[in-house]
C-alpha cells in the first residue's frame, strides 16, 4: 500500500461542495421542497398583498404604512426560511438515517452547519427573488426602495435565522425527534417581539422590553423608518448586528456542547433509527 494519504484539510472545498450538492439534488426533484420555496411565500404574498390593496382605499390609512406591510412580509419570510433551512436540513439527515455517515466522515459538525448555511443562502435568494418580483408585478411594491439598507437588513435577519436554526438543531440533537416540531415553530416565538408589522412603541411594557433583545425588531423598525422618513437609525442596525453575534455565539456554543455530550452519551445515535 502507498504511503498514507494526508488528512482532509479543514478548509477543503470538496467536502463543503459534497454537502451542498446533496441539498441541491434533494431539492431538484421534490415537489414539497419546491412548495416550501415558492408556494407558501407566494400565498403569503397574495393574502397580504390583497389586504394592502384594500387598505390603500381607506382614506385615513397612510400609504407608507401599507407598503411597509409588504416589505415586512418579504423580510419576515426571509428570516423564517433562514431558520427553517438549517433545522430542516438536519432533520432530513436524521429522517434519511444519514447523519452517522456525516459524523464519521472527515468533516466536523461545523462543516455540516456551514453546508446548511450555504444551501440556506441559495434557497433564500431563490425564494426572496421570486417573491420580490411578484410583489412588484402584482402590487407595485419595490423592495429595492429600501436602497442599500436592504442588504444590511437581509444580512441581519439571515444571521438571526441561522443562529436560531443552529440552536434548534442542537435542541433536536439533544432531545431527539420529539423536539422536531421546533424546526417549524421556534421562529414564531420571536414573531410577537420582532415588531414585524407594528412598531415596538405599541407593544405593552414587558413585550417591548423583550423586543429590545430581538435583533429582528431593530431591522423591522429600521425598515419602517427608511420607508417613512428615508433615514436609517444606524444605531439600531448596529444593535441588531451585535445581538446577532451574541445569538450566533450562544447557538454555536450550545451546538458544540450538545455534539460533545452526544459523543459521550450517544444520544444522537438514537436519532433516525
Amino acid at each position: 500500500m502507498n504511503s498514507p494519504r494526508p488528512p482532509v484539510p479543514l478548509l477543503a472545498w470538496r467536502p463543503m461542495a459534497g454537502i451542498l450538492f446533496r441539498q441541491i439534488v434533494l431539492y431538484r426533484r421534490s415537489v414539497p421542497r419546491w412548495m416550501e420555496i415558492f408556494y407558501w411565500p407566494l400565498l403569503d404574498l397574495l393574502v397580504w398583498g390583497f389586504l394592502t390593496l384594500y387598505l390603500k382605499k381607506i382614506p385615513t390609512f397612510m400609504p407608507s404604512a401599507v407598503t411597509a406591510l409588504l416589505g415586512a412580509l418579504l423580510l419576515w419570510d426571509l428570516l423564517y426560511r433562514a431558520q427553517q433551512g438549517i433545522s430542516v436540513m438536519f432533520l432530513e439527515e436524521i429522517w434519511s438515517r444519514n447523519l452517522i455517515h456525516l459524523l464519521i466522515a472527515p468533516v466536523t459538525p461545523l462543516h455540516v452547519v456551514a453546508g446548511a448555511i450555504l444551501s440556506s443562502i441559495a434557497k433564500v435568494l431563490l425564494s426572496s427573488s421570486v417573491a420580490a418580483i411578484l410583489a412588484y408585478l402584482l402590487f407595485s411594491f419595490r423592495i429595492f426602495s429600501l436602497g442599500l439598507h436592504l442588504f444590511f437588513f437581509i444580512l441581519a435577519l439571515l444571521m438571526m435565522g441561522w443562529a436560531l436554526g443552529i440552536l434548534t438543531t442542537a435542541v433536536i440533537l439533544r432531545f431527539g425527534q420529539e423536539a422536531e416540531v421546533l424546526a417549524w415553530g421556534v421562529i414564531f416565538l420571536f414573531q410577537p417581539f420582532s415588531a414585524v408589522f407594528n412598531p415596538v412603541s405599541v407593544l405593552p411594557g414587558v413585550a417591548a422590553a423583550i423586543s429590545k433583545a430581538v435583533p429582528a425588531s431593530y431591522v423591522f423598525e429600521g425598515m419602517r423608518s427608511v420607508l417613512v422618513t428615508g433615514r436609517l437609525p444606524t444605531g439600531d442596525l448596529i444593535m441588531a448586528f451585535l445581538l446577532d453575534f451574541l445569538y450566533a455565539g450562544v447557538a454555536l456554543f450550545v451546538y458544540s456542547r450538545v455534539i460533545a455530550r452526544a459523543r459521550h452519551k450517544g444520544f444522537h445515535l438514537k436519532l433516525g433509527s
Binding site: M1, P4, R5, P7, V8, P9, A12, R14, P15, A17, G18, I19, F21, R22, V25, L26, R29, S30, E92, S96, R97, N98, I100, H101, L102, L103, I104, A105, P106, V107, T108, R263, H264, K265, G266, L269, S273
Partner: protein, 253 residues
C-alpha cells in the same frame, strides 16, 4: 501479508463504556488489536456490546476509560486525522432516498475529498453489481441493493480499515457470496483491514482470519476458527456461540 506480524492498524486497550452513571457496562474492559490485511469478525448476541464497541472505534462515542487508536491516532480526540482512511457501513444506516445511486456516491466522494470521482464510481458500481442502477433513486432499490449501495459508499474512499456491521443480513446467499469475494479481493490486493459483525456463523467461519466473541460487554474468546474449535472442542462456531451465550445466561439467572 496479514496476521500478528503485520503492522497494527487498530488497537483498543481496556475500553469501557456505559450509557448511564450507575447502569451496566455496555463494553467492559475490551482489549484487542487488528493488523493490516486481516479480516476480523466480532460475533455475539444482541446487546453484547458490538455496536457500542464499533462506535467507539469510529470515534462516534468516547470511551469512559481506556483508548482506541487507529493508525496510532487516538480516536476520542483526533478522529478527523484518520477519518479519510476508514469507513463504515451498517444495515441500520441508509442514504437519502430521493438521490440516485450515482448522486449519493458523488456526494460522498466529494465529502471524502476524493479525485477521479467518475471512474471511481463506475468501478464501485461494477464491483457491487449496481451498474444498471446508477441512475435509479435509492428509494426504488430493493433491500439487498440498498445494502450493496451502503457498502459502495463505504468503499468510496478506498478505506484502509473498513467496518461492516452485518453487511450481508439482507442479502441472498448468492449475492452474499459475491460480496465476500469482492471484499476478499480488496483485502488481498490492497491490504485493506476488515472488521465486521454478523449473526451468520457459517459466513464468519468461512470469511474470517480471526474471531472475537463478545458477550455481556466483554470479550469471552478470540482466535482463528480452527483455534477456537479445538480449544472449546466444538464442531462449529454456532455451537461455540450457543455454548458461550448459554453459560452467560446461566450465570445471570
Amino acid at each position: 501479508m496479514a496476521g500478528p506480524d503485520s503492522p497494527e492498524v487498530l488497537v483498543a486497550e481496556n475500553v469501557r463504556k456505559r450509557y448511564a452513571d450507575e447502569g451496566p457496562w455496555a463494553v467492559d474492559g475490551v482489549t484487542l488489536a487488528l493488523h493490516r490485511g486481516e479480516v476480523v469478525s466480532i460475533v455475539g448476541p444482541n446487546g453484547a456490546g458490538k455496536s457500542t464497541l464499533i462506535q467507539m472505534m469510529l470515534g462516534l462515542l468516547v470511551p469512559d476509560s481506556g483508548s482506541v487508536r487507529i493508525f496510532g491516532n487516538e480516536m476520542a480526540t483526533g478522529r478527523r486525522k484518520v477519518a479519510h482512511r476508514i469507513n463504515y457501513a451498517s444495515t441500520d444506516l441508509s442514504l437519502p432516498y430521493s438521490l440516485t445511486v450515482r448522486e449519493n456516491l458523488m456526494a460522498y466522494a466529494l465529502i471524502y475529498n476524493m479525485r477521479n470521482i467518475g471512474s471511481r464510481i463506475d468501478r464501485l458500481l461494477r464491483d457491487m453489481d449496481l451498474a444498471s442502477f446508477r441512475d435509479v433513486r435509492v428509494g426504488r432499490l430493493s433491500t439487498g441493493q440498498v445494502a450493496r449501495m451502503g457498502i459502495a459508499k463505504a468503499l468510496i474512499n478506498d478505506p484502509e480499515l473498513l467496518f461492516l456491521d452485518e453487511p450481508t443480513a439482507t442479502l441472498d446467499p448468492e449475492v452474499s457470496a459475491q460480496l465476500r469475494t469482492t471484499l476478499q479481493t480488496m483485502v488481498r490486493e490492497r491490504g485493506m483491514t476488515l472488521l465486521y459483525t454478523s449473526h451468520n456463523m457459517r459466513e464468519v467461519e468461512r470469511f474470517s482470519d480471526r474471531i472475537y466473541l463478545m458477550n455481556g460487554g466483554r470479550l469471552v474468546a478470540s482466535g482463528s476458527v480452527s483455534d477456537l474449535m479445538s480449544r472449546f472442542e466444538t464442531e462449529d462456531l454456532e455451537s461455540l456461540f450457543l455454548q458461550m451465550v448459554g453459560q452467560k445466561r446461566g450465570k445471570d439467572e
